[in-house]
Every structure is written in C-alpha cells, then in structure tokens.
Symmetry: C6
Subunit: 253 residues, 6 copies
C-alpha cells in the first residue's frame, strides 16, 4: 500500500495572499472565508476566480445564494474584471441560487442541498472548472436553527466538492470582529481550512485584515495581515505587520 501524499497548494495569484499562505490554498479542498458585512468576502471570492483565469487559465464556477449574477458583474466592474467575457468563453459559470422574489412561499427550513450540488456539478463539468466559490452560506443557513443540520450539510458540501477535485471557497457571515468565527459555532470545525476577514473599528477608523486561522495538513503564516482593495486590481494583501503599515501610509483610511 503506497503512502498518502501530503497536501498540495494551489497558487491563487491574489497579490500577497500566496505569501502568507506559503504557496496558496490547499488544493482540491474547501476553505471557509468568514467575515462581517462589507469585509470583502465577495471581492475575495470573485478575485479567486478572476485571478485563476487571468494568470493560470483555470476556469471557475461562482455559486451565488443571494446577490443576483447581474449585480455581481456590475460590482466587480470597477475592479477590472469583465465577467461577461469569461462567461461567453465558457470559462466562468454562475450558478444562480438566489431567491426568486416573486415566490411567496417561505420554506420551513429544509433547503434542497442535493439539488444544489447537482447544479454545481453540472456547471463544473461544463466549464472544466478548477475553482469554485459559494457566496454566502449565511444566506441559506439563516433558515436553519439546528446546528447539527448545518454541520451535516456543510460536511456533505465539502465532500462533494472534494470529489469534483476543485479548490473551493465558501463564504460565511459573522457579526463580531473578535467573537464567534461564524454563526453556528460549528462551521470552523467542519471546514478543512479557515480564513477570517476583519474590518475592525478602532478609534473611528476601520482596519482591514486577513487571517489564515487553520490549514489542515500544511503550514501557513499565522495572525492578521493588513490588506486593501485597489480599484482596477482588487484585494492586495500586505505582508507587513500593522506597525510597519502605519509608518508606510497614514492616508489609507
């Protein structure tokens, strides 16, 4: 019986991120990205796919649970990513799982994950995706009250994505910058990898940081790293300590 190999890294090509990730995201596995409202989860998710296309010709699938695809296209426009072109080339596929506002029915709390994962699989095969993002699990889990069910469905989702041999990002919501990692207190244990985006208010100013909390089976830099969002570029992680950053530039608010 041959021994298992270790965990490979997938180069993300997100500026600065591969440095703190010591290579990139764990390949073929799922990473949970948790953050408060406006902490740049959707930007990071899009950039993961965009960078994959621009730098590595790795097609991607974007599964959206609340924001309609047209809104996402418009939002990412000023960061320089022309999603429509990639969709036309069948290198980028949206799976639109956003709610139908006309639907009056409120589901009693059971979301058909099976059907969703089937759609994801179809899209992955269609574009030959190597990267998949799902934004944001908070939108569907809001209906859930049973944390065991949340744990179960997240586990199932991660397993299916593993079988599809894609490297995936799942975004999750949280409400305190230094409190619970996600809503149910279980998401961070199920996920193989956890990244936290923070947007902490300190003395009337906001400070954006990214932290790799956990990468199972492979090393990474620890602690918080500052980042900014640059128009035309997207997220840029600065592999500097906070002290060095404030010396460099005091006009970045």
């Amino acid at each position: 019986m041959t021994n298992s190999t270790g965990i490979e890294k997938l180069v993300t090509h997100i500026p600065g991120f591969d440095l703190i990730a010591e290579g990139g995201l764990p390949k073929g596995r799922t990473t949970l990205v948790s953050g408060t409202a406006g902490s740049a989860k959707t930007v990071l998710a899009c950039q993961f796919l965009a960078a994959g296309l621009v730098h590595a010709d790795e097609p991607g699938v974007f599964v959206t649970f609340e924001e309609p695809p047209e809104d996402i296209r418009r939002n990412m426009h000023s960061l320089g990513w022309a999603l429509k072109d990639w969709e036309a080339q069948e290198k980028w596929a949206f799976v639109d799982a956003s709610p139908d506002p006309a639907e009056e029915l409120i589901e009693a709390g059971s979301y058909d994950f099976g059907a969703l994962l089937a759609r994801v699989e179809h899209a992955v095969r269609k574009v030959g995706a190597k990267r998949v993002v799902m934004d944001s699990i908070g939108a569907i889990f809001t209906k859930f009250t049973d944390r065991a069910m949340v744990r179960r469905e997240l586990f199932r989702t991660a397993t299916v994505l593993k079988q599809l041999e894609v490297t995936a990002l799942l975004t999750a919501e949280r409400t305190e910058e230094y409190g619970e990692i996600a809503r149910f207190g279980v998401e961070e244990f199920v996920a193989d990898n956890v990244v936290i985006l923070r947007n902490a208010l300190e003395g009337e100013k906001r400070r954006r940081t990214i932290e790799i909390l956990k990468f199972r089976g492979t090393p990474h830099q620890k602690g918080e790293w500052p980042f900014t969002i640059v128009p035309g570029e997207g997220m840029v992680v600065l592999p500097l300590s906070a002290i060095e950053l404030s010396q460099r530039s005091s006009n970045i608010r």
Copy 2:
C-alpha cells in the same frame, strides 16, 4: 454580450456626505441606515428627499411605518423644509403605512409586504420619484421572530425598489452604539449598502457620527465622521477627524 457597467453614484446634496461617499449614494440601489433612538435616521431620510428636490429636481416618496405624516411635516419644519408645498406640487408623496390606533387586532406576525410594495410603486409612478425612503423597518419587523423571514422580505423589498429604478434609503433600529448593526443580525448582509449613525455617550457628552460601512461595487471613505444637525439646514457632515473637530469647536455638545 456587452459587459456590465459599474455602479454609478447619485449625488445626494447632503452637505459633506457626497465627499465621504466619494460621489454620492450608489444609484438605483438600496442603502440601509441603522441607528439608535434619536440618532437622526428620520432627519437623514427627509433630507435625502428634500435635497433631491431643492438641488436636483428629483421627486421622492416617503414611506412611514410609525410616525404619521403630519408629525413628520411638523418635525421637519424647523429644518427649513416645507413638505406640504412639495406634496401640493406632486413632487413629494407620503405612503402612510403607520398603524391605525383604533384597530384592536394584533397581527400574528405576517405583514402584507406585497400590498405595501404595490402602494409604493403607485406613489413612485405618480410623482415620477427618483428617491424613496422607508422609515423605519424596525417598526414592522418588531412583530417578526423568524430572522429568515426578515431576510426574505428585506431582499424582496430591495429587489422591487431596484426594478423601480429608484435610489432608496431604508432606516433600521439598533440598541447598542458599538454592538449589533441592526436587530436581527441579517439586515446588514442583505442590503447592498450600509450606513451607521451613532450617538455615543462618552464622559457625559454625546458625539454624533456617520459611517459608511459598506458600498458594494464602489469605493467610499471608511470609518466614522462627525456631523451635526443645524436648524434651518439639517444634517451637516464634517469631513474631519474627531481630533480636528474637538479643536475647532468645544461648545458644540
């Protein structure tokens, strides 16, 4: 397939606000404005419509969920806005969704959002509104216990307003200046844009600040900015840091 365009800004003409918003509010989208009691949500909401009429001839609709229109007219009188005139010119329409005190029935928790949105649409078309405010969603959501339903109805409301091609402000209630953004922990994720009004008590004095927490798809200044309410003018945002402000004027309490 042509690519999507980016997010345009609508100039609000609220003094100082367009500066920190780097242009204005995201056009054609909804912004959530959350604040504690007395933090100036209703003043901001009225001023958004008033400034639109005074400076840009953009008609508006004011949907009120608790304060009767006559109370709002009287409240805004000393800020220099003669609402009755604009109503006569059919440039300002109230949608009065305030409770009927004579009604003894307490609804079991289901609010007819469909009917409400139909009334809003009617008023928008009637005055040709470009701006809409809804004040405050806390008043109707108080009945709700199911946060998934809150999320759903907010999503639906934002979608309908998007279809009406108006730029909208929805006010929401919160109880801690530096705690949860709104009541249910979901409102800030559903909304495309989030603004927070604070009225923090520090050493026996109150300090009013406005913060743009999140603008999807477009840049903005971050962190808290001081503002005051000037009789005859309304809200004036001061694009200064707190330190500069305390040097300038120590008698503004």
Copy 3:
C-alpha cells in the same frame, strides 16, 4: 394647503430643566422618562404637574399603575406639594390604576388599555388638564412578553394623548444605568421624546444625572446634566458639567 408649523415647547418650570430643554418639553406630545429604581421618575412626574399648577395654572392628571394615590401624596409632602388641596380645587386628578391586592386573579397578559385611556380622557376633561403623567408603564408591561404588543399599546397611548392635546410624561423602568434604555428595546423608538434619569454608582458614590436623549423636531442640549433633589423644592437640574459640579460642592453625596 398651509404648511405645518414646527414643534412648540411647553415651559415646565422645573428649575434648570427648561434650560437644557431649550424652552421646555415638546408641547402636546409624549415624553418617555426612563430610569432605574430610585432614579427620581416619580418625583419628576409629580413636579411636572406641581410646577404647572404653581407657575402656570395648568391643571394635570396623574395616572398611577402601582403606587396608591395616598402613598404618592405622603411621598411628595416633604417636597412642599400639597396634592390634596389641588385635588379639592379640581386642578389635580389621580387616575388610580393601581392593582387591587384583594383580587386573586392574575391576568393572562392582556391589559385593557382601552378602558384605561377612557378613564384618562374623562379625568383630563374634568380638570381641563394640560399636563398628564403615567407612572410607571413598567408596572403594567411586566405582564407582557410580546414586544410587538408593547410597541402597539405605547403607540396607541401616545396617539390618544396627542388627540387630548396634553403634554404628557410616561415613566419607564430600566435595570442598567448604561445599558438598554427601557425593558423591551422598543419604547425609545415609539416615543417622540426620550429623557433618561441616571443614578450611577462610581467609587461608592451615587451621581444623579438627567439626559434628553431625543426630541423629535426640535433642538435640545445633549448629554448628561447633574441634578439633586432639594427638600421643599424637588428636582433642581444644574446646567453645569460634572467637573464644574465637583469643584462647587464635594459634600453633596
């Protein structure tokens, strides 16, 4: 259509209060006064009526939900107000809504607000009241678990008082000096005006302050102001900062 007028102020004649209120209480409207046990809510309520009689010949109605009228008369005696005289002159009317201790029945949570408001209206007309106080809503709302019902009944009460064209004070209970404004987290949003009485423990000493948190439609001084209760006079608000106060008198505990 003539425009609405602004919000007038009613001079309370409570020493120091009209100064921080920049004129007095908003006339014809309801003000919520919230405070912990012993923070002087009932003293303020009585003084509002007493001052109205002594200085402005404005009759008043005192609605009591728990303290029997005879107890209130005795309590206010040492502050110099002879309530019985005013009652004899039909310038002061009590509406005794205190519980009947002989009654074994515990209501299931539905208080007949309609009947109460009818009694209040009757008393207002009888003495030609211009001022009304209701002390304290915490006593009846203790039965309530549904915050939507609390919001609804408060709204209804404020509307009826508005129709009676009286200026009203409603006292409410809270349990933390710097925490929630009232018990249910909704009272401060329903009320047009909010005043907070504090009795904070600092280094073994108590410090009484009054704060006008919110006056819809009219300006006021912000933040906390010290006050004391002077035998023979009642509440005296000191329009000084805390620093000035501690310099003036270190024996007032």
Copy 4:
C-alpha cells in the same frame, strides 16, 4: 380635606444605620434588603428586631422561609441575642414557613401567599409587633418563573404589611455584587424602599458595604458605607468613606 403628612422614620437603633438613613427606616412601610449569599441579610433582619426590643420595647415577628427557627436562634447566639427569652415573653414570634423536608410533593409554582399573610397577621397581633421581617423571599420565589406574578405577590405582601401598620424588612437574593439588584428585575421597583448589602471581592479581600438605594418620600445618605459584624454586638455601620476606613484599620479583613 386635610393634606397627607410626610413619611416618618422609625429609629432602628442599629449602630450607624440611623445616621445614614437620616433618622431610621421609613415607618410603617416595607424595605427590601437585597444581597448575595453571606452578605449579612439574616443578621441585619435579626438585629432589626433585637434592637427594637433592647432599645425601644417594640415587639417583632420573624417570618422564615427556609432556615428553621432553631437554627436562627443558634446562629444569633454569639451576637448576644437570646431569642428564646423574648419568645417566652411573647415579644418575639417566629412564623415558621420553612419547608417540611418529609414532604415529597413539589408545588407546581403556586405558593399560598394568602395563608402565609394570615399567619403573619396572627403573629403580629399576638405580640403587638411593631417590626416584622421576612427572610428570604428568594426561597419562595425560586419556584416562580413569571416575573409578573412575583411583582404581584410582593405588592400584595407590602400592602398587607402597610395595613398592619408595621415597619417591615424583606430580604432578597442576588448573585452579582454590581449587577441586577434582585433576581427578577422587578422587586426593586415594587418596594417603597431598597437597601443593598454588598460583600465585594477585591484583590483577594472582601469588603462589606451597605447602601440605601431608595427611600420613597424621604431623604437619606447615598452610596456605599462600610460595615462590620462584631461578635456580641452585630452589624456596625461605619459612616466613613472607604478611604478613611482603610487608613483606620488594615487588619480588618
């Protein structure tokens, strides 16, 4: 109609207490005494009755809800009070409302207050009591989940005691020295008078203080005052500030 008189004070003869109470306890009314476990509630309650007998020949009734009378007699022995003698002289009566340990039944939450108050009335008349204590309401209210019922029964108890024209002390339990005043958040509002006993842990040492939080209708000293329990004497309140106390004696732990 003659005017009501003010609130008289009953001299307690508890060393130091009458000074901070500016005369004594409000006469003919009920005072709530709340404190954590071991904060000296029962000592204060006994001393109130004992001092009444020793210094003023005012008989008293001790209602006990948990500690059997024999335990209380033994506990108070080393403080110099020979309760059995006074019981023999019919100047001290116990109302033993402690649970019968042999009883297997657990009441579903309804305590027969009517029967209890009848027993109290009987004992008061029997010894001609001027002072009554009830220790501790926490023991019977532990069964209660409905805070409205707690409020109701406390109100009823205070009303009955008022009719009996006794000055009463009711002890209540709390679990945080600087948190909620009592268990249900309503007791301190129902009571006419509130005293708090603290036993705060600071830097490994305990500091006993007594505070008169509220006396309706009559003045009192505010804030915390240190006290100690002296064998052979009982509670001695020191009308000094904490700073003065630590200078005086650093060996009192």
Copy 5:
C-alpha cells in the same frame, strides 16, 4: 425555656484551614465546597475524612456520585492515605452512587434522593461516622433543569445530615473562577456554609486559593488564601496574603 447555644466548630486538622476557619468547620452542619474542574474539591473532601481518622479518630463516610471508589482510592494513594485499611477497620465507608455504565436508561430527571439518603444513614450508623462528604452534587444535578427542585433536594439533604449529627462537606461544580458560585444560583443560599476553591489563570500561571465565603452564626477569616497540594500530605493552606506568598516562593507554579 433554655436559650439555644451557639455554633461549635469541628477541628478539621487540615493544615492551615482551621486557622482561617477560626476553629474549624461549623460542627453538625453542612458546608458547600464549590470549584471548577481540577480545583481540588475531591482532594479536600478526602482529606477532611482522612485527617479526621489520623488526628481525631472520627470515622467518615464518602458518598461518590460519579468517580468509582476504586478510582478514588488510587487517586489518593500518592497523598499518603491508605483508604483500604480504614475501610477494613470499618472507619471509612464508601457509598457508591456512581452510575452503572451498563444501564442504558436515561432517567427523566428525577433522582431518588430518599433512597440515597437512606443508604447514607445506614453507612453513617455502620461506622459511627462523625464526618460525611458527598462528591459531587453537580454529577446528579446535571439532569435537573428546575432550580426549585435543586433547592428543595439540597435543603432536604442538609436537614437529614443535620439529624444524623454529622459534619458534612458537599462538593459542587462551577465554570467561572469569578462568576456564579455554583451552577443554579441557589446552592449558596441553601447551604449554611460556603467555601470556594479557585484555580485562576493569570498571565499563563495558575493560582490556587481557598475562600470561606459564609459561615452562618460564627466568625471566620474572609477573602482568598493560597494553598498547595503537597505529595504525601495533601492540601496545605497558607495563611499568608498573595504578596507574601510570591515573595516566599516563585518556583511554585
């Protein structure tokens, strides 16, 4: 009628404890010992019995609710107490109330305290016990949700132990070093005497302290006192302040 005597103390012979207890534990009564996991409750309980045998020939009964007797014998071996010998001499009796792991049934929350107390009585009479410990009530109360029932059963237990004329220690669980005294917020009020064992984490080090919070009817030293566990001896209380302790020995971690 002869007067009641005061509260006697039982010398424990636990080094340092009798000093801070000013004589020993209140004789013939129950003391609650509460502490977090690993705070030395079981060590203290065993030592109370062992010291009674070694120094005073006072037999004892150890009631265990979770740890099997064989585990306890092995645990106490390195502290120098040969329990088996004493059991053979019928001076030490175990009442094994630990769960039977083979039993699949989960009791619905009603524990047969009557049966347990009968077994305890039997064991007490068999060895002529003067000392009894019950370790730990948290193990059986975990099933309880109704704090009134907890209070009732604790009261009953203490009453029965009083009738058996033994001096008893009951251990209880807590989860915060400086928070609630025990789990239900009622245990510390029912018990006649309360001792708290702490194991606080401060700057990466643990600090063990013992505090006598309350001894009804008899004096004691107040506040926290350091102690250590010495192999071959057991618990040793150091009647020193924390400052003196850190000067004496900085290698005791």
Copy 6:
C-alpha cells in the same frame, strides 16, 4: 485487603510534553483535550499514536468522527508519519465513524454509542492497542441538546476505555480561548484528566500554548506552556515561560 496503588504515567514521547506532565499521561485513563478550531487537537492525537509506535512499539487505534481516514493520512504526511505503513503492519487501526454523506437521514439526536464502543473494542484487540484516540467528540455531540446525556455517554466511554486498559485521548471543541472549557460545561468534570490547547490572538499575532488543567491523583506542571508545530516532527512543547520564549525567537509568528 491490599491497598490500591497510585496512578502510573505513560511516557508519550511527545517532545516537551512528558516534562510538563511530570512523566507522561496518566496510564490506563482518558484525557480530554479541548481546543478551538485549528488549535492542533488532531495533530496532538496523531502524534500520541505515532510517537507510541516510533519510540515504544505501542500500537494504537484512531477513532475519527468527521475527518475521513484518507484525509488524516494526507494531513499527517508532512509531519513525517507514514500511517499507511503502520496500518499495513496492523499497528495502527482507524475506526472510521465519519458520516456517510450519501445518507440523507438526520438522526434525531441519539447516537448509538454502544455500537461505536464495540467497534473500538474490536480494533483495540485486533492491533493490541495500548493507545486510543477519539477525534473529535464535538462532531457527534453537536446533535445533543441534553447535557445530562452528554455527561452520561462520556462517562460510559471513559469506563469502557478503562476496562480495555488503554491510555486514551478524546478531543473536544470550544469556541473561546479563555472561556468555557468545552461546549456543554460538563465534559471537564467527567474526564479524569483535562488538557487545553490554546491559539490566542494577541495584537494581531497567534500564540499557541498547551495547559494541563487537571490530572486526577498525580502531579503535573501547571499553567500554559508554548508549543510549535515543526514540519517533519510535529508538536514540540517548549518548557519555557512566555517571556523566555519571546526573547529566544521573535520571528516565530
């Protein structure tokens, strides 16, 4: 009757751990290892088994409740442990209790512990295991709401493992570095031994520490000790204080 012997220690051969454990883990007993997500619970669990094989020829069983065995093999590859080889030699056995993602059924909260323990026993006998780990109990207890059931099943598991005469590690989840030890507030009391892994965020950096909170019946070093994870080696505990550590190396983040 011979006396019981004391508690022996099993040398773990984890660098630095046996030093702070003063010999090793209590032999033949269960140790609870609790930590937040990514605090190195699984690494410690694997290393316990791996070190047993490398240094002492003690076979082991790894029971996994969520991570599939293949994932664990890959994760541990870069730490130098070739699990497949040991499995082939029948010195390492996995008990795969991870969920079957194809299973749609969500169990109503009753996990068949009996069946699980039977599988564990079978695996232990098969490889002649001296060491057993179960990772992580949080995964199965997520379904549980009744803390009494959690306590019961943990007790049963520990008893069975004791009968199998293995030294066991059970990993548990927690969400605050300095809050509750595990999820239910009972796990730390049931377990004979408790170890806490921390990964605290301080000034943007993470600090890994291990603490032995409790070892029943045997001594150990107290407080937090720093450790790192070294590729090719695994966990290395540094028996230094935090101050010494920061002096030694400021580039270990």
